[in-house]
Structure formats: structure tokens, C-alpha cells
Symmetry: C2
Subunit: 451 residues, 2 copies
């Protein structure tokens, strides 16, 4: 049987998410990110295309590694300005019925007690369509911005995240019994006090004494997404994630990542398929291959190299502004003296990069694979990637907004449907039901169930 | 010239905001608070009625003073469950053009750096219709919930609030110059790095080093609302507030509050009319006086006394569960041994209350005045209150949701309009422009301007 693929739209409440310079394209509407109508229209487009979810990235902080300042980020709108992602969702929920909503939120900036209420509210207002992309922050500038001297070292951040989720699970899963809310208008009893329980958590990083402020939402715990690629990140994902984002430029590398995610789940008593794996992919679709390639060439003319290097410097922590565009990557070292070849080795070990090539590679596709062609060509490509790697679907990045998503919804999805490789209607129920075909609640193997 | 009154709808993302027990009324839709469509419909109703704003209260914490536990709050849905107010607004903004949006947020639970971004986002997405009701938290249970041993003493909380606003003003008003964003697609320059400035704040409670993450929103600083009635609260309002909520059961007491607010503004170098004063009022309007009184009597049958005492105990810190319903108020003492007569003295010094009378008084009207009658009767009443006290308008509380607001929009507003006492169309522009008829930005006398 043909495997049905899943599709998320990957975006951010900003001007320049992943394609530096493309905000200057005449058809690009990224600058409408401040308009609630822009987002409502995008949500309608995605639901018409039966996208599984819209996923909204976020950072608190700025990309100030390139040349050691934030000029490149300000000039090129590199994930800056960057607005709160959460507030986009209620308006998109109002105009849709099925689209899932993933929101990125870091465990660094808000105490889990009020945060748990925010997510319960989101799950209520969306009718059970909320997902949370758990991140530990990676921009040191974000920590400095709130007066922390520096980010905790990487593994410590995951320890904080473990405890943060533990607190959230207790609030979401254990504070209100399923039958606590009676809403008996005759007796005048809204809820049964014996079935509402205080959480008492006294851990290393957080203290909580109190009941959860929200009654149980359709999913209780929102669907947990995670994207950490490190060993510790993978371990965290294996334990907590119900969906994982991965990104790799070759099928071999991607397959090893997918296998590692599933192995990590299994190692922690869960099933390998308890995690839906999405991989980063950029699809540039035209009516014909030639149309698509014309589109791609047109897009490439709007790339900004200093913007691309600003983004890449922020991601890697290497100031790529110190090198000439034609210098080979092997000349580049990190602040700690490590060769940049090692940093990029997971990308494509066989390739010898120059700085300019790195910039081009990040500008359209954000270091992930790019498929350019007719609906048939791109569908072939996506099916081949899924077949070779075991991913369940794709996180589609945008080049021109909303054109990239509109093309996917209107051209690519119908082709996948013709092949039996995409749903022709949404499954009923909450986002978790739609993803797993089971219940709205965490399954019994998930650690949140035992919180 | 007839004074034009202003009207806000006062509500909360909860089942039982101000009228304990009324959620059981057959026409009450409070339990739909989890539905984003419920809120969108309410926003449409209010905009049809040319309401100035919808104001959403919030608490983090529970009402656990009554009998020393939270049974009364759980059973009667006394501001519990209580969901995040912020997320209601983007959906309401999508379906309206003019309605203002006030959101309550405490300075206790989130660092001002990410909070400032939340409010800038809200101001962007609403097209400049955002207001922030600044509160210092009053429920000790909220502090315990996040592991603080107890709330800071009252005056200290206002010192924290002063610094919190100072940080916010720096981020909102000073980080991005008005002409920082160029969005020059030809040159590929989104913003001018020389016009984006880092904030460096090192105070007693907060540290910030970084630029504001949001570009300037239509109002930059959202319209600042405040409701503190204490001496220190009034001083804070005089300095920061552009709108103030007051509440008093008699015109004489209300007038003294209004005068005190305006005097506090003047004492701090602002104009007395730099603050728009709204007073709490409940309007129960019918086609005729007899209709309205039938409605009122019907509402009263749904009041829950233990719910009312739960709410009042939480507000005052006095456990009213220790007394028999017919005991006079003079038997009641606070934990600190103070007579409750003193606590309630600002309400109506001449009146001798029993516990039962207190409960009834709080149940419909929430300790504020209640006008019951035909549109003409209620309009007379509101005009008389405004004339006698100097308030600019009213914060209308709901008894039955949305009926109380629908009646106000459909019956009361047309009557006020006939008298020339209510606008017949919204003024253009942002919420601040609508309120003051000046610019979208803080006026030069406001301390935020000099931040």
C-alpha cells in the first residue's frame, strides 16, 4: 500500500524566517506578518490543502555572531523583528476546523505554572489542535537580554527541560479528574472539589504548589514536538516527543537520524512508531518542470549572501564574516579552535565547500533538500525520500510567502492524492487523534501518563 | 453640551467572573468560554454597540480564603477555571475593526523582556487597539503556586511594577527609531542598524541587555489601564495610567475616588484629564422598567450565597465562612484582628450589614451600583452618576453572558445616542487616538515618553 505522507507548513512570526533576502521578492508577503488577516488567509489556504499543521518557529534573541554584531540581522531581517507566535493561532483557529497548530516555546523564559495554563487555553480554544515544540534556547543573546549571564551548558538545559515537562504533565494530566467538571445547573455545582487536586512539586529548578488553573482540555497535554539533533536532544525526544523535526541534506544522513529517533523511543520503553518524524524540505513546484526551474532561478536572484551568513553564523556560533567568500571551509575554525569542516560534516562530508557555497546552500532550503519541478517530479522526490529514509512526512519551508505554501496546496497535494500518497479528507478528532488514529490523550507508554 | 459617555465590557476568560451562580441561568453562555467562536461573536456584538473596549480581567491563583480551602471556588466556578486572557484577542481582532482590547497581566509572573514582545505583538495584530491593565497580584495562592514563599508586601509590589514599566517603556519607546524600518526592496535593506538601539537596564529587580524584538507597533506602548484603589496604587495610576477603573457603591465615594485619581495625575505633572476614568456599573436593561425588574428578579434566583462569600472572602482576605448568615458585620474581624466594618467602610459607612446582605450585595453588581430599568431609566441613571462624580464612562459587568452585554448594545446604547450622550460612529485610528483624540503615541507628559 502506498504510504500516506504528512505535510506541515513551517513558518515564523517574522519577515525573514529561512530564505534570507526573499522578502524583497515582488510576490512575497512576509512583511504582512503583522496583519492578523494575513495569517487567517494562510490558515485557510493550508486547510484547503489538507496540511496536517502549521508550525511556528520562534527565537528569543538575535543573530549577532556574524561580524560580532547584529547589523546583518537588522539589515536583512534575519528572524528579526520576531513577534510572539502564540497569538497567531486563535485567529487561525477561528477560520479553520482541522488544521493543527504547533507553537514553539522555550523552557527558559516562563515559569511552567503560567505556561501550562497558556497551553491548556490554546488546546481549549483550538478544540484540541494544539502542539508544543519544546526548545531549549540556543541564542546566547536571548539569555543576556533577560539578565542571565549566559545560557546554561547544553546538557543542563535539557535537565531543566525534563523537569519543566514533568511539572507540566502533573498540571495537565493529574490535577483535574476527567469527571471533575459536572456543570450541574440544577444543584448549582460546577465541579467536584474532591476531584480537583493540588500539584506539589519541589524539584531542583521549579517549585509548584497549587491546582492547575484550567479544566482538562481536549488533549490535556498538547502534542509534544521536538527538534534537538544532539545526543542529549535525541534522548529527550525519545522520551517525550510525539513528533520530531529532522533535517539533513542526504538520504543516508536523514535515514540515520530517523533510525536514531525511533531507536531512542524504543530504548525508553516506547514504540518506534510512537514518534511521527517530519523532515525539513523545500518544494518549489510549477505547472511544469520548466516553470518550476524558472521560478527557482527567479527566487535565487533575491538571495542576500550577508543575510545567509548572518543566519548560518547564528546557528553554528562561527563568525563567517571573518572569511573571504571564496575561502574553503577547511580554513574556518570555531572560537574554540574546532575545524568548521567537523561542524558541517553531518551535512555532506564528501563536499568541499567555500563560504559562498555555504551561503547559497542555506539561502533556499535552509540546509535541507530542495525539490524543484512539476507536481509529478516533486511528488516522485518526496516519495523517494520517504521510502529511503523512513520519515513520515515533511516540514515544508517557505521561500516566497505565501506562494510556496499555495503552490504546495494547489499543485503538489492533488498530485500526491492521485497517487494515494496523501489523505483526501481530514480524519476526525483532535490533532493527536489525527496523527495516531488513537485517542486524544497521551498513550500509556508516554512518560506524561505516569507523571 | 451633553457629555458623551464611554462603555467597556468587563469580562474574564472563565465561567464565573462577577455574578456567583449565574452560570446556572438557562440563558447564560459562560461555559462557552472555551470556544473561540463564542468570543468572536461577543466582539461582533460589542462593536455593533460601539463599545469602546472589551476588558478582560485575570487572576493567577484561586479563591481559597472562604473556609480556608478552595471548595467554594471549585463548586461555584468562582473565577476558576481561569484561562489565559491574551489568546482571546487575536480572534476578536480578526472580526472587528474598531473595538479596543484590554488585557490584564501581572508584573509578578513574566520577565518584562518577553512580556514587552507579547504586548507589541498584540498591538501589531490588533492594528493599534491594545491596552494593558497593569496589576500587582493580590492572591497569595498565586505566589505559592510558583514557589514564592508569599507575595511581596503591597508597597513593594508597586516598586516592582514601577521598574517593570520602566523596562517596558525603554523597549517600546526607545529601542527602534520611527524611521528604523525602511523595507527598501531595491537595496535589500529591511532596517537601518544605526537606528535600532540596545536597551541596557540594570535595576533592583530586572536586568535587560538587548534590543526590543518587535518593530514599533502603531501605539508603541499599549494604552495603560490601572485599577489600584490604595494610596500607593493611586499614586502609581497618577503616574502611569491613561485609564483607571474605579468602583464605589455611592456617588459621594465615587466622586472622591475620581477626584483623587485626577489629583494624583496633576501632582505628577500630568493633566487631570490625561486619565479616562471608568467606574464599575451593572446595567440590567429591559424594554420597560417592569421587564427589567422581572429580569433582575429572575437573575437573583440564580445567585449562590456560598459562591458570593467565596469571592468576597478572596477579595478581602477575611474568611466569611466563620460566621452565620444573619450575623452583623460588626462581629467580623480580619486575621489581623481589624474590624471588618473598617474594611467595608469605604463601601457604605452608614449601612449596617449582615453576612447574608453582604453576599447579596456582591452577587449582582460586584459591590458596585446596579441600574435596573428601561433604556430611558438606565440612561438617566448613568448620566446622573457621570454628572455627579466626573467619571468618563462605565465598565459594564455581566450578569448573564452575553445577554447583559447584548441588552446594553441593543437597548441602552441607542437611547444614549438619542440623547447625544454616546457616539454614533467610532472615531478613526488607534485605541489611544479614539480615547484622547490626539496621536497614537503617549503624550509628552507621560513618563513613558521620557523613559
Amino acid at each position: 500500500m502506498t504510504k500516506q505522507l504528512r505535510l506541515n507548513a513551517f513558518t515564523m512570526n517574522t519577515v525573514g524566517h529561512l530564505a534570507p533576502g526573499l522578502w524583497t521578492h515582488p510576490r512575497d508577503r512576509s512583511r504582512d506578518y503583522k496583519s492578523i488577516r494575513h495569517w487567517a488567509e494562510l490558515a485557510r489556504t493550508l486547510e484547503r490543502g489538507l496540511f496536517d499543521a502549521i508550525f511556528i518557529a520562534d527565537v528569543i534573541g538575535v543573530y549577532d555572531t556574524y561580524h560580532g554584531n547584529l547589523d546583518g540581522a537588522v539589515r536583512n531581517a534575519i528572524q528579526l523583528p520576531i513577534n510572539d507566535p502564540l497569538q497567531l493561532i486563535p485567529a487561525m483557529a477561528l477560520v479553520t476546523e482541522h488544521l493543527g497548530f504547533g507553537v514553539t516555546s522555550s523552557v527558559t523564559y516562563e515559569h511552567p505554572y503560567p505556561f501550562a495554563r497558556r497551553m491548556s487555553t490554546l488546546d481549549h480554544l483550538t478544540g484540541g489542535r494544539a502542539a508544543w515544540n519544546v526548545v531549549t534556547s540556543y541564542l546566547d543573546s536571548g539569555a543576556r537580554a533577560i539578565g542571565l549571564p549566559h545560557l546554561a551548558v547544553h546538557d543542563d538545559r535539557y535537565d531543566v527541560a525534563e523537569e519543566y515537562l514533568d511539572v507540566c504533565y502533573k498540571l495537565w494530566e493529574r490535577s483535574w479528574d476527567d469527571d471533575a467538571v459536572i456543570a450541574d445547573t440544577t444543584r448549582g455545582v460546577f465541579a467536584d472539589p474532591a476531584k480537583v487536586h493540588a500539584v506539589h512539586h519541589h524539584g531542583r529548578h521549579f517549585h509548584v504548589d497549587g491546582i492547575h488553573l484550567s479544566e482538562p482540555s481536549p488533549q490535556r497535554t498538547p502534542v509534544i514536538f521536538q527538534a534537538g539533533a544532539s545526543r542529549r536532544g535525541r534522548q529527550f525526544a525519545g522520551r517525550h516527543a510525539e513528533a520530531v523535526f529532522v533535517s539533513a541534506p542526504t538520504q543516508a544522513i536523514l535515514k540515520s537520524q530517523v533510525d536514531a529517533v525511533r531507536a531512542s523511543a524504543a530504548a525508553q520503553g516506547r514504540h518506534p512508531d510512537d514518534i511521527v518524524v517530519f523532515s525539513m524540505h523545500t518544494a518549489i513546484v510549477g505547472e511544469t518542470d520548466a516553470d518550476a526551474h524558472r521560478k527557482y532561478d527567479d527566487y535565487r536572484r533575491h538571495v542576500r549572501q550577508d543575510g545567509a551568513l548572518t543566519l548560518l553564523s547564528g546557528w553554528t556560533g562561527i563568525d563567517l564574516g571573518k572569511y573571504r567568500p571564496d575561502e574553503p571551509l577547511r580554513h574556518v575554525t570555531t572560537n574554540a579552535g574546532q575545524s568548521a569542516v567537523e561542524v558541517f560534516s553531518s551535512s555532506d562530508p564528501a563536499r568541499s565547500w567555500t563560504i559562498r557555497e555555504l551561503a547559497e546552500w542555506v539561502s533556499i532550503g535552509a540546509r535541507g533538500p530542495v525539490s524543484v519541478g512539476s507536481p509529478s517530479t516533486v511528488a516522485d522526490d518526496l516519495q523517494a525520500w520517504a521510502e529511503a529514509t523512513g520519515v513520515d512526512g515533511f516540514n515544508l519551508g517557505a521561500v516566497v510567502i505565501p506562494e510556496t505554501f499555495t503552490d504546495a496546496a494547489e499543485l503538489l497535494v492533488p498530485e500526491l492524492q492521485r497517487r494515494g500518497a496523501f489523505k483526501t479528507a481530514y480524519a476526525p478528532g483532535t490533532f493527536r487523534e489525527k496523527l495516531f488514529g488513537r485517542t486524544s490523550r497521551l498513550d500509556a507508554r508516554h512518560p506524561g501518563t505516569a507523571a
